[in-house]
């Protein structure tokens, strides 16, 4: 069966769903980042809420455990005045044997406007977006090894705040590239936004079979990968996704690829260090770096709310009519 081409954009090129950063042009990505800047200011006010999505209902459909992503999606929707439901499908109807499509039909019948989906299988958010009723939009909160687009935008938003001129930047992404949905979305976003050089740094066993296909420079040694970089994006070693003997031992991984102040010395003096969380201290990152002056890890968490507010409001507020005069 040939499926018609499915797009996350509507006929006018606006976001209808948000499933991946792939296929999004520089203008759209920049629009999201600029909108998020306005929302970041809202988070600093006494009343951290705006009435944009009043009356809308957002459902967080989480098939995989998550604290930070779930919390920031929930807070983002609440700060936009939407009603939010969190449904943990690991211990819900699916366990009782209900099929995914039946679960979706049930939620659709409750007149929801948006599903935020996190799932352990690649393509889950796409599948749901293809199968939901037309009035529902889907945001991908991470699907398998495929994509985690909002996380990538958080990272570039954080990077842009510290280093606004992307054309001069060298960025290293370090760690488990093979299993990381974050890495794929990061590489794609950084390249679209015109970063000078993107490097991926990992042992052969944690790289995909053809790493060059990702469009980044491949470095097998951490020292080579970190030399003169402006930013380091660390990835979590995903114990739950790594099967078989890919790593000799955690200790050895830390020796070779764990980020320490000493190894960071070859990077530019003003380089910043990012990590999408949760941290495995002493595995991919040393506490001295994670808590040190170059770490912007907690800023990434705050920015997560602003980015998700921006994307949610852009999707649910697509222009249908003409601008009303003031």
């Amino acid at each position: 069966m040939v499926r018609p081409q499915f797009s996350q954009l509507d006929e006018a090129g606006r976001l209808r769903h948000f499933l991946t950063t792939e296929g999004l042009c520089r203008e759209t990505l920049t629009d999201i980042l600029d909108t998020a800047e306005s929302f970041a200011a809202v988070g600093k006010r006494a009343v951290k809420k705006v009435p944009l999505l009043r009356g809308k209902t957002v459902v967080n459909l989480f098939f995989e455990p998550s604290t930070r992503t779930l919390t920031t999606f929930e807070l983002a929707a609440k700060r936009l005045s939407a009603d939010v439901m969190n449904i943990n499908l690991r211990r819900s109807a699916t366990v009782k044997g209900e099929s995914l499509l039946d679960t979706l039909r049930t939620l659709e019948a409750m007149h929801c406007d948006m599903f935020v989906v996190r799932h352990a299988s690649s393509g889950a958010a796409h599948f749901i977006a293809r199968n939901v009723a037309p009035h529902i939009s889907v945001m991908n909160g991470g699907d398998g090894r495929h994509a985690h687009p909002s996380q990538a935008l958080i990272d570039v938003f954080t990077l842009r705040r510290h280093k606004p001129d992307f054309s001069k930047l060298r960025v290293a992404i370090v760690g488990d590239i093979a299993h990381s949905r974050v890495a794929r979305s990061q590489i794609n976003t950084l390249l679209t936004l015109g970063v000078r050089e993107v490097r991926i740094v990992a042992p052969r066993t944690l790289l995909p079979p053809v790493p060059e296909a990702l469009g980044a420079k491949v470095c097998l040694s951490l020292e080579e990968g970190l030399r003169d970089v402006d930013a380091v994006m660390m990835l979590r070693i995903q114990h739950e996704r790594i099967q078989g003997p890919l790593l000799p031992s955690i200790h050895e991984y830390f020796q070779c690829y764990g980020l320490t102040e000493k190894k960071l010395a070859v990077a530019r003096p003003d380089a910043i260090v990012m990590h999408p969380g949760p941290l495995n201290r002493g595995v991919e990152i040393d506490s001295e770096v994670a808590d040190g002056p170059r770490s912007v890890i907690l800023q990434q968490v705050s920015h997560g709310i602003a980015i998700r507010m921006a994307v949610m409001s852009m999707i649910l507020g697509r222009r249908n009519g003409v601008e009303e005069p003031g």
Partner: protein, 168 residues
């Protein structure tokens, strides 16, 4: 029919004078000036300077408070709101370029109250073109005009400021 830069400057001058008089008459001491993006901020900047206000100028981006969000969505590339002062128990002068339906002012008032509880809010606009759809009134106005619904008026700026008319 356009109002050229020289006339606009004269209009701003008389607006500042009238505002000063109004504030005196109402005994509103130490007012804070807040403009609505984008044209309102330009006008507010002039008033802020003319009245010699010490505290910084405030700016509102009412994008997140518009009542037509579900029809027209977000309007990108407008800077964030910035009220760099505490507004509780303060007298606020809210400034916009053109007053029309009153919906922008309604949105701005809602946003202001998310920052705190001001003692009072005074509305100042450069032009009142009529056509109100909400019970909103202007306290100090530069010029009143009667325009048909099809006519548009737009403040161009920031330097020099001028008013342009368009027939749609």
């Amino acid at each position: 029919m356009n109002i050229n830069p020289a006339e606009t400057t004269a209009l701003l001058k008389s607006l500042a004078t009238e505002l000063g008089a109004k504030l005196g008459e109402l005994a509103r001491k130490d007012p804070l000036i807040v403009g609505i993006h984008t044209g309102g901020v330009w006008v507010a900047g002039h008033l802020h300077q003319a009245l010699g206000i010490v505290e910084p100028l405030g700016a509102l981006n009412i994008n997140f408070y518009r009542d037509d969000f579900s029809q027209s969505g977000l309007h990108p590339q407008v800077s964030a709101s910035e009220l760099p002062f505490a507004i509780d128990d303060r007298h606020i002068v809210l400034v916009d370029d053109v007053l029309h339906t009153g919906r922008t002012v309604r949105a701005a008032l809602n946003e202001i109250f998310d920052y705190g509880r001001p003692a009072s809010v005074l509305l100042v606009t450069l032009v009142d073109r009529g056509g109100r759809e909400l019970p909103i009134q202007v306290d100090v106005v530069g010029r009143k005009l009667s325009l048909t619904p099809g006519q548009q008026i737009k403040l161009t700026g920031p330097e020099p400021l001028a008013l342009e008319f368009q027939d749609c």
